[in-house]
């Protein structure tokens, strides 16, 4: 084909060269982010898996069938069996209720087991005949490690170490009795696994994602009634919320980088097309049809983009390698190896982005009238600037949905983009109107500023380019810090790190007094009852009626219903309204939206609960979202305090204990024997780690955004380079001094930067607020820094970019430019 033979000639075109660089950088940035995000996300999931001690777990009341083990072996998955049951142990002649956990090597499959022994810290499962005791169990027993023997059924186990950290402890956060860990093989000889025992058998699995998926599917088909599959999806909600937020941050940062790259591509294409128009006119004169001319350029573009995309992907692979070498040790363990998906993402994304952004502009080439050969000033009819941008934004929306797999995020982003463009175009038009009188003036600055009014299309294009570029930069530079701050502030230094549960009503006053006397920060006492959901409206709740595993689990078990007059401060009403103290008391429920969604509860439905044999019915008057990663006391279902009066309730609170107050837990356990103290510090540490690493990863992705922004600036300044070169040459011919021209150029770019920066500061403030509140459910506070940074930074940087892009023009002898016409 003709176009193939001429691609070298095309590459000599500076517009096309800029387009190639834009595509290479865009794809390199994107695929680096995709590679890196992919690996970081998998590392974060691994950390989440550590809280389950596995990637996938299945639990039931019967021993794990041999067939399941064989299947896991056939799929080359790592596996470990554990079983748990409550039992009474005897030590130093004292009986005590414990939660026994029998484990087999290589438990844990994810995360780390930490045990203090007289020989130092170890991380293995106990050998037969030995047991690891939780610290509070040792305290209660007054056991001596390495010396005391513990009687469990028919066995005598030596207390050989103190359990410091057990990764899947979180899964049984609210267990009442302290832990005793023993060898899996021993438990068979304890005589405790009779039919009446409340043993739970659990199979832990870990390994390759594809194999795990296969195992999950295989198990789902064979799972007997009462069995339960658990993976990260239904692991602890605190962690899920934190992981989800980290993922959204990364996606948002990557989207900003790719959007900027897209803007650079639109601008670069515009210049390429402007220069291609002359050639197209000649081809039309030589008898080529309009369609053929367009095809010629499309093929040319496609060839160039394919090569550039491949180069970009290669750059992305190298880029993320550099990232990992910098960040690798910050992530503690080694990151998982890069997957292949990002290569595909980079290739497809680059190709479709370049074509999506470039083709609407390129259509002009097909419409060039042959008369342009004679009258160069004849323009090819093209799409208006706004139409090009809207088409490009539409194409980008499709890509965003595909890239982030999140319709809400992509939709919000697309909407914001269209609104931003509308604002920029409107402001651009007003600017042009305001500048028109300057065409009559003659000063240095006026001459430059009038140039903006002389080329309205170029001005609008440049304003949109600079404006969007600065907005996205501000969003990532300032708003990013605000949002991450708000996120980290949502888990303050003194976030609750212990929960006290099962406090009896008559013990309330004494405990409150104790906490006050010791000045322990706490969340206050909340009444709660264990309740089972019986009916939603007239429909009976049957666990088997749900296909979703989480819904099945929620329907089958009792969960906590809280009673409170005030809404927890990390909750947000999504539908209906919270009760006020002055309204007449009536029975009603506020339900967490995730639970409502899983169980199919709608606003206004009447719920029926069974609370220790009593039936409680009330309508749902509000749906709430809950920031589970705040570690405040939160409930799936909350009712007004009056409803607690006739029900058997216990109380709970969360409190912050600093290392010096840790002895208090022993005291509390002694004074309030029924109370359980739950230490959530390991989970807190996990969530903090996700926040810190998530924030760090966003910082790294930001580097690519900066590169893309630099590219946008160059492309935006280059858009008008040809027109500018000619103007400068003519002005030079007419005797304009370098200083005068420079003054004009600086005034022109400075004003573009000033207006672009001002608009960008406004756009970044609004979108930053919306992103924080809507997307991350965090307080929306945007730093006033965006204003001076946007206006000042915009003016200075755009002037600088303009100066760098055009300063060479000022030194070129005019004849060289004029002769090139």
């Amino acid at each position: 084909m003709l176009a193939f033979g001429h691609w070298r000639a095309a590459l000599r075109d500076p517009g096309l060269r800029l387009l190639v660089i834009a595509v290479v950088v865009a794809v390199a940035a994107l695929s680096s982010v995709a590679f890196f995000a992919d690996r970081v996300e998998r590392a974060l999931i691994l950390q989440g898996a550590a809280l389950m001690a596995a990637d996938l777990a299945v639990e039931q009341g019967e021993p794990i069938p041999q067939a399941w083990l064989d299947k896991a072996d056939a799929l080359a998955l790592r596996r470990a069996r554990i079983l748990t049951f409550p039992s009474v142990i005897i030590a130093n002649d004292r009986p005590l209720l414990v939660q026994v956990k029998a484990v087999e090597a290589p438990y844990p499959l994810r995360g780390q087991l930490r045990v203090d022994t007289p020989q130092g810290e170890v991380s293995q499962v106990p050998v037969p005949g030995a047991a690891w005791l939780e610290g509070r169990l040792r305290d209660r027993l007054g056991a001596q490690i390495g010396v005391t023997d513990v009687g469990l059924g028919e066995l005598r186990l030596r207390a050989a170490g103190v359990l410091v950290d057990e990764p899947d402890r979180g899964g049984n956060l609210f267990q009442l009795a302290p832990r005793l860990m023993m060898a899996y093989d021993d438990v068979q000889h304890s005589g405790l696994l009779g039919p009446a025992s409340r043993v739970k058998y659990r199979l832990l699995l870990a390994g390759d994602a594809a194999q795990l998926q296969q195992m999950r599917a295989w198990l789902s088909e064979r799972l007997p009634r009462g069995s339960e599959l658990a993976d990260l999806e239904n692991a602890r909600p605190e962690l899920r919320t934190a992981l989800e937020r980290a993922r959204r941050f990364l996606s948002l940062a990557a989207l900003c980088a790719s959007l900027l790259a897209g803007v650079a591509i639109v601008l670069a294409t515009r210049r390429y097309v402007d220069r291609a128009l002359d050639g197209a006119a000649v081809l039309r004169t030589l008898g080529m049809s309009a369609a053929a001319v367009l095809r010629w350029h499309l093929v040319q573009l496609l060839l160039v983009v394919v090569v550039a995309t491949a180069l970009g992907s290669l750059g992305g692979l190298l880029g993320q390698q550099a990232l990992v070498s910098v960040l690798g040790d910050w992530f503690g363990e080694t990151l998982p190896a890069p997957g292949l998906r990002p290569v595909l993402v980079g290739l497809l994304f680059g190709l479709s982005m370049a074509l999506g952004f470039a083709v609407p502009t390129l259509l002009r080439v097909g419409r060039v009238p042959p008369l342009r050969v004679l009258r160069r000033e004849i323009e090819a009819p093209g799409l208006a600037a706004w139409a090009v941008w809207v088409l490009a934004a539409g194409g980008f929306f499709g890509l965003m949905v595909w890239q982030v797999q999140d319709l809400r995020l992509a939709g919000g982003m697309a909407l914001a983009l269209c609104a931003a463009l509308a604002v920029l175009m409107l402001a651009g038009r007003m600017l042009l109107l305001a500048l028109t009188p300057l065409r009559r003036a003659g000063g240095n600055a006026a001459l430059g500023l009038a140039a903006l009014a002389r080329y309205p299309q170029l001005t609008l294009l440049q304003l949109a380019g600079f404006g969007l570029g600065i907005t996205l930069l501000l969003l990532l530079a300032v708003v990013r810090v605000d949002i991450i701050d708000a996120w980290q502030r949502s888990l303050p230094e003194q976030a609750p790190n212990h929960f006290l549960i099962n406090l009896q009503p008559e013990e309330r006053t004494a405990l409150a007094g104790l906490l006050q006397a010791r000045q322990i920060p706490n969340s206050g006492l909340y009444a709660m009852a264990r309740a089972r959901l019986v009916a939603i409206g007239d429909r009976q709740v049957d666990p088997e009626g749900y296909t979703d595993l989480r819904a099945r689990r929620l329907a089958a078990r009792e969960f906590n219903v809280g009673f409170s007059g005030e809404m927890q401060r990390d909750n947000r009403i999504q539908a209906g309204r919270w009760w006020t103290p002055d309204e007449p008391p009536r029975a009603q429920f506020s339900v967490e939206e995730g639970l409502a969604q899983s169980l199919g509860i709608r606003f206004g439905d009447t719920l029926t609960f069974d609370v220790a044999g009593q039936t409680v019915r009330a309508p749902v008057t509000s749906l709430r979202s809950v920031a589970w990663d705040s570690f405040n006391v939160n409930f799936f279902v909350v009712a007004p305090p009056q409803m607690a009066l006739d029900l058997p309730v216990t109380y709970l609170t969360s409190l912050y204990l600093d290392p010096a107050s840790e002895g208090l837990t022993v005291e509390m356990v002694k004074r309030f024997p029924a109370v359980s103290v739950i230490d959530v510090r390991p989970i807190l540490a996990q969530v903090r780690a996700i926040m810190e690493r998530g924030a760090l990863a966003v910082e790294m992705v930001f580097v690519f955004t900066l590169i893309a922004a630099a590219l946008v600036s160059v492309a935006a300044a280059q858009v008008s380079r040809d027109e500018r070169a000619r103007e400068v040459a003519i002005m030079r011919t007419l005797g304009a001094s370098r200083r005068r021209l420079l003054g004009g150029l600086l005034a022109e770019f400075g004003l573009l930067g000033l207006v672009g920066g001002l608009l960008a500061a406004g756009l970044a403030s609004v979108s930053g607020y919306v992103i924080a509140v809507e997307l991350f459910e965090l307080p929306g506070r945007v730093s006033p820094n965006v204003w001076w940074l946007g206006i000042g930074g915009g003016t200075v940087v755009v002037s600088l970019v303009g100066w760098l892009a055009t300063r060479r023009l000022l030194g070129v002898p005019p004849l060289q430019v004029l002769n090139s016409d």
């Binding site: 103007e727 002005m731 005797g735």
Partner: protein
């Protein structure tokens, strides 16, 4: 050149144009006429030799100083008009006056446009004008600062015979009024004959007596 050989576009040129004189440089296409004109006007620099304009040695001046020398004292008319496409006819003509910081630039420009017969086209953009009209705007611009010297590069090269004739008449009419020096590059013998003196250029060298 790309193969390393040196290509002499002009060589052994020694000429002088006196104040108030009208000189034509005549020669076939590719003889170096336009290059010579550009060098004489200070729009480019020779690799060897010296050019003096209005008593100033251009070799000692940088691009900025040369521009300052041109401002308001040197006028240009190009074959391809070289109007700024985003400016109206009036703005194009006012431009050199504004660069020279003259007062009432717009009224002077308007008067000049009326003189070349474009009083009704003041606010038209170049693309809305015919070739002849564009060249008349260029003429008005060239004379806008009452220049001491006017350089014209094939001013009728892009025009039909009638338009070309009108441009020539206007050019010489305006020059007579202003009394400036004229240096004109052309391959049109008849046009050259209207000048005081004709120089012939062939393959980069002056032939015949200057």
């Amino acid at each position: 050149m790309s193969d390393g050989r040196v290509l002499d576009i002009l060589s052994a040129i020694d000429m002088q144009v006196n104040a108030g004189e009208a000189v034509a440089i005549l020669g076939p296409s590719g003889s170096g006429k336009s290059t010579l004109l550009g060098l004489l006007a200070g729009l480019d620099q020779p690799s060897h030799g010296r050019v003096s304009l209005l008593g100033n040695d251009l070799g000692d001046m940088d691009e900025d100083a040369r521009a300052a020398l041109r401002a308001g004292r040197v006028g240009f008319v190009f074959q391809s008009f070289q109007l700024l496409p985003g400016m109206t006819a009036l703005e194009n003509v006012a431009l050199p006056l504004q660069i020279g910081r003259r007062r009432s630039a717009r009224s002077q420009a308007e008067a000049l446009l009326r003189e070349v017969g474009l009083g009704e086209r003041l606010s038209h953009l170049p693309r809305q004008l015919s070739g002849g009209e564009q060249q008349r705007v260029a003429l008005a611009r060239a004379f806008a600062g009452d220049p001491a010297i006017l350089f014209a590069d094939e001013p009728t090269g892009n025009l039909d015979a009638d338009s070309g004739q009108r441009i020539i008449d206007l050019l010489f009419g305006l020059r007579d009024r202003v009394g400036c020096t004229l240096l004109l590059v052309t391959h049109d013998q008849q046009l050259a004959a209207r000048c005081d003196r004709v120089l012939r250029l062939d393959a980069g060298r002056l032939v015949g007596a200057p």
